[in-house]
Symmetry: C2
Subunit: 189 residues, 2 copies
DNA sequence: AAAATATCTAAGCACTAGCTTAGTTTATGA
DNA sequence: TCATAAACTAAGCTAGTGCTTAGATATTTT
C-alpha cells in the first residue's frame, strides 16, 4: 500500500444519490457530480468506473435508505391500509431524510426516466423493484378479503400505476393535493 | 421574390412533432430534426428561429390535431362519463393518428418533462392547458350531481393527477392494464 | 437574358458531455 | 531514508450539442 484514499466511498455516494434524486440521470453531469461529491473526476472513475456506475451505486444506496419503509410495509398486518401508509411514507420520505429539495421516490423517478431507454441493466432493476412491489400489494389486498384473484390483480395494477402518478405529482403538486389524491385513490379499493 | 421554399412549413412541423412526441424535447437533437423534417439546419433556423421555436410550433400543431378529442369532451352531455371517454381517447390517440410508436399525450409528457424546468414559456403554456382541463373536469363533475364544491374540487384534482399517471403508464403498460386503471379510477367518482 | 435576391449546402463556431492520461504528491514498507 | 505505488491534479481527448455563416444554386422580375 501507498497513499491512502482521502474520501469515503459511502459518503460520496450519498451525495451523488442526492444529486441524482434532485435532477435525474440525464440532467446530472460528471462535472456536477465532481462538485457535489467533493472529489475529482479521476477519483470518481477510479472508484466507480463510469457515471453509470455511480448511478447504480446511488440506487443501491437509496434502496438501503428506504429499507425501513419497505420493511414497515411488509411487516404490517393491516392489509390495504398498509399500502396506503406506504404511499404517504413514500411522499414524505425526502423530507424525513433531510432531502428537502428532492421530490418523489428515486426508484419511481428512475423507472419513469428509463421507461423508453435501452439500458437493460437499469430496466431490469426497475422491473424487479416493481414486481416485488406488485407481489406485496397482492398479498396485502388478499388480507381479510373475499375478493377473487382477478379483482386483486386488477387492483394491484391500479395501485402500481397510481404510485407512478404519485411520483410525477409529488414533483409538482402540494401536500394537500397529494393527500386528496391518495385518499381518493384508496376509496376505489 | 426570388427562389421559392422547397418545403411546406406545416408538413415539416408535423414530422418534428412526431419526433418530439417519440423522444421528448431534450432527447431530440437538431441533427435528428434535420433528418426527420427532411430539411437542412439552415432552413430550420430560417423558418422557426431555434430548436425551442420548432418545439413551440410542434405543440401548436399537436393542439390542433387533438382539438376534435377535446371538443368531444366539452360538447358531451354525459358528465363524468365524458371524462372517462376522454381518458380512453387520450390513450388511443397515437394509434388513431397513425403514430404507432408514440405513447401518451404530447402535452402531458411535456408537462412532466418540464415540471422542474426554468422554461417560463413552456411552463405557462402547460399550466394553461392543465387549468383548462381542470375547469372542464369541474363542469363535468357538477352535471346531475349533488356533490358540494369541495368534493368536486378534490375529485377534479384527483382526475388531473390520474391523467398524469396515465401518461406515464401508457409509455410502459399494455392496453388491458391501462383499461383496468381507468375503470378503477372512475369506479368511485 | 441578366440582375437581384431568397433558398440551400456544407463547413465550422463555441460549448458541454463522458472519459482518459501525463505528471505531481504523499503515505507506506523495506 | 528512500524507492515504491497508490491517490491526486489538471489538462486534454473525442463526440455531440445548438446555432451561424460563406458561398453555391435557383427562381423571379425587369
Amino acid at each position: 500500500m501507498a497513499r491512502v484514499k482521502q474520501y469515503n466511498e459511502q459518503e460520496v455516494i450519498e451525495k451523488a444519490m442526492s444529486l441524482f434524486w434532485r435532477n435525474g440521470y440525464e440532467n446530472t453531469s460528471v462535472r456536477m457530480l465532481e462538485k457535489e461529491m467533493g472529489i475529482n473526476q479521476f477519483s470518481i472513475y477510479a472508484s466507480f468506473g463510469s457515471k453509470h456506475g455511480v448511478f447504480l451505486e446511488s440506487l443501491k444506496c437509496y434502496k438501503s435508505k428506504i429499507y425501513s419503509v419497505f420493511e414497515k410495509l411488509q411487516n404490517g398486518t393491516d392489509g390495504v391500509n398498509d399500502i396506503k401508509a406506504f404511499f404517504y411514507d413514500s411522499v414524505e420520505m425526502p423530507t424525513k431524510m433531510g432531502e428537502f429539495d428532492n421530490k418523489g421516490c428515486l426508484l419511481t423517478n428512475t423507472y419513469n426516466e428509463f421507461a423508453n431507454s435501452e439500458d437493460q441493466l437499469i430496466q431490469t432493476q426497475m422491473k424487479e423493484f416493481m414486481d416485488v412491489l406488485k407481489t406485496v400489494f397482492i398479498q396485502k389486498l388478499a388480507v381479510n378479503s373475499k375478493k377473487d384473484e382477478a379483482t386483486i390483480a386488477k387492483q394491484a395494477n391500479y395501485l402500481l400505476l397510481a404510485k407512478h402518478g404519485l411520483a410525477a405529482a409529488s414533483r409538482v403538486n402540494n401536500k394537500q393535493e397529494i393527500a386528496d389524491y391518495i385518499e381518493l385513490t384508496f376509496s376505489n379499493i
